[in-house]
Symmetry: D2
């Protein structure tokens, strides 16, 4: 039995922490909004009132936080992991953050005697609930080996993709492909609707050939029903496209299609749809063609 501190018990972190608790580990959870610890306690875990309290005595520290500054704060803050965890502790960062920040934090961790891997996930709430996440892992070989049992508990496809930061780089590539595929599917459906095609039939036949994809399977039904409840929010995908843009810039590569898609995500957010599922890119594409696409969340209020 390992003692695992789990910081960040949101829509993704909570079910992941519960899986680790049910697998027999002693999981101590902390969340800024303390009521989010309830599910973990019910699954056999414990709640901590601060990061410091959670990580004291932990063998492993797991993080699932919204953005780069949050991870930086939790690791380097006065109340944070570096100040209060024992040397040698293994840090697993499940958050999606900037690759360069991940590299820097990992280097600082090493200087202070910690081991750290970046392990961002793909698969959404369903993947977290069903322990079926894809996990892209960056870090040293031994650290990744040490982390693997915990990763296998919450994920289905767990792959070591390179040194520290590489997990975040692959996650950025994942978000680039996903946002782009959603935008293309949206353009295809608006195009087909304008031509009067039978949309469910079209989606069926598109799925059988080279146009088939997980995005088509999961997002086309939402677009056909104009039902954009999250899922994965546009606001978060907007944050991730910012990571893609800056990481591409850092690497000196041009991503023209990705850059245009990032603008369409930004436009979706600017239209007030930031709280909807990323399939709501469909609404932006539809508006560009003068086509209504179901009630706006603002209109509903």
């Amino acid at each position: 039995m390992t003692t695992i501190a789990f910081v960040g018990l949101g829509i993704m972190g909570s079910p992941m922490a519960c899986h680790l608790a049910r697998a027999g580990h002693d999981v101590v959870g902390h969340n800024r909004s303390p009521e989010k610890t309830a599910a973990l306690v019910e699954a056999g875990g414990r709640a901590a009132g601060s990061v410091a309290e959670a990580v004291r005595g932990a063998d492993v520290v797991a993080l699932m936080l919204p953005d780069s500054p949050d991870v930086t704060d939790v690791l380097t803050g006065e109340d944070g992991v570096f100040a209060h965890a024992a040397p040698g502790t293994l840090i697993i960062d499940f958050s999606t953050i900037r690759p360069d920040v991940a590299r820097d934090l990992s280097a600082t961790a090493a200087e202070r005697g910690f081991r750290m891997v970046d392990a961002p996930v793909s698969g959404g709430e369903a993947g977290a609930v069903n322990a079926a996440l894809s996990i892209m892992v960056g870090g040293g070989k031994d650290d990744v080996a040490a982390a693997r049992p915990y990763l296998d508990t919450v994920g289905k496809t767990v792959v070591h993709v390179g040194p520290s930061g590489a997990g975040q780089t692959v996650k950025a590539a994942n978000q680039l492909i996903v946002a782009g595929n959603i935008a293309l599917l949206a353009e295809a459906l608006v195009f087909l609707e304008a031509h009067g095609a039978d949309l469910p039939a079209a989606v069926e036949v598109l799925g059988g050939g080279l146009a088939g994809s997980a995005v088509l399977n999961q997002k086309a039904p939402k677009m056909l029903d104009r039902e954009y409840s999250p899922g994965f929010r546009i606001d978060l995908h907007h944050k991730d496209m910012g990571i893609v843009t800056s990481a591409a810039r850092e690497a000196g590569v041009a991503t023209p299609v990705g850059a245009l898609v990032a603008q369409l995500v930004a436009a979706t957010r600017a239209a007030g749809d930031g709280g909807l599922d990323h399939s709501a890119l469909h609404r932006t594409i539809a508006r560009l063609s003068g086509r209504a696409s179901g009630p706006s969340p603002r209109d509903e209020s």
Copy 2:
């Protein structure tokens, strides 16, 4: 047993005609380059020296031709189908052509007493050889029902998507999604390579989540190996993106991502890569980032 005239015995048409012959039909094939009829004859079919000769006495006329003008010529020319086939003949056009041309030809066919469906296919040479094509069918209900046995003989996913021309519209949407997904995959791989990620590992984990797609499965290996043998040629996808562009214009819809992707396909062709597989979009994306991407076919000569 039905007598089927099959015009256009290229890389796709030849195996399709052979499947129909092996299924017990009397298939009479015609091709501009007559040596292409050999495989059909071996499969039990017959060869005809002209369109007129092929269609005389046929119950069904099947076409698999490169572009809109070819189909127009074979149907409306002096030596063509409308002039020499018997009234009531069922015409199945497997070619990928402009939706508006498909609609016009279908209307002319009806005026002259023929029945016609548009039935473009997706799945490539492998799909044709394995009788596993996706077929998107446009036409009247009864005509599609009459064509279905022949479609089921060459395809796996056969879906009626709307009236005449709708098959072509859905095929255009298919080509929009496919080209876009290839471009995004190429951007992701160039991005990952510049960051020094482990590419095969990255492709594995990307395939396990929401970024997974038929394009990722079939085209990532070609990109990793810089092996761009067709497959489906850039030249043909360039033609298809022209269809997408004009059909979107006709319908009054905006497809910003598709329009940008069409330019990248055009750039791939302009670079002399028109004869390569459409995965060669990877070469254009790599060049845009100052990265070599294997020898050019021009350099090899």
Copy 3:
């Protein structure tokens, strides 16, 4: 004194025909809506009830028509120029049409013993009224020389840019630059407004440096006032971007920025703003950023 048949007396053609009449020529005008001949008659010209009537006895035939099919009809129709004008007549086509159509019509004209130049114009209604148009002229050297006195009567910058069709090609390039510059100005103003900058001051200082342009001078005031009365209608610029797209395709060149701008023009039209000035691209850009941009013409009804 030359007898000039002028076909197409719209917002541009009417003042141009009047300038030719006032310069002492015998101008016989024809327009599909006959009431449009009034201004020409007042300027000393004559009205004709048909193309045939207008061109009989003319030394020069001038055309100013909306699109390629219109020019084709007026030249090749039963009632048209080729059928009724005298051999040797000089045809000056001021219309903006597809370069390939211009080349084909010019070749046909030559076969039938006519001389023809393409002479599309830039400068808008104000340029036509003030005889200050820029005219991009394609054709043979002698034919352009023969046309020059008439071109100089209506234009200020008259330049021979190449053989038949070259005038149209340069006009297409002109429209590409203009639409793009409008879109960029719109993005800049939306960006500045969101940042709370003093917009009139910003426009003043932008105009003094490398960002200065005729588009900035003429279109920024319309955008600041949300006053999009034509001017040059989005519907026409949409037609012209179609010419740019197909001519670029024909020449095998990639125009990524132009292709994206064409989609924004299409989106402006799809939003119901096709009858507004092309500065209404500002409305589309503003909508993309969730910013209202004055009442829609549809809301006003």
Copy 4:
């Protein structure tokens, strides 16, 4: 006579400092590479070995530095302005930096008792040499009034565009328009060349109408001659497009055309052309269409 410390005597800063010295001010210049102070000394100024030495006793401190971190260092460093200048000193930052950094530095300056305006310039080396710069000024009314005599000494169009940071915001908008106009001009010229048009004639007639611009006047000759010596380097415009992208993101606006153009600038840099004038975007556009565009600077070595 005012004592002015001028930090940053590069291609732009040196002639600007000389103009201030020739106007009768006591100008003390500092540059990291000390040999760059020679021109200023010849114009009657003095050279200082450090920032601290330069600013001690100065009434005004002027900065012309490459990027945000440089300005931050010179202002806030141990040897810097805030540590060594007298309270009440007026700081004029001519550098092009991020608007949010400009706002933050201005706030810090105010806290420490300094007055500061941001005053980025447009007009290039020629503008600096001829004291004909456009200057977009952000800051408080009184501070801008105090700075105006010095701004008028080096600029021709000096406009107060808003509070602190607004100058940088307008400069970002300027760079967005300029890069976009260059890309569009490049697409137009590649398009015209592929069609065989007479390019100098085309440029002449384009300049006479709505496509006319400062970019056309200054950059078309460089593109026609394939002569891309700076001028304003791609590397710097790439930095500026990064500012545009992040400032647009900060303001919640979508700039689709700007985002695509930023990728083309990045591609130009990735191709090894970062040291050329920004008109070298022409080389990237030409390469995209399979057209050579003069020798690469890398090929020359």
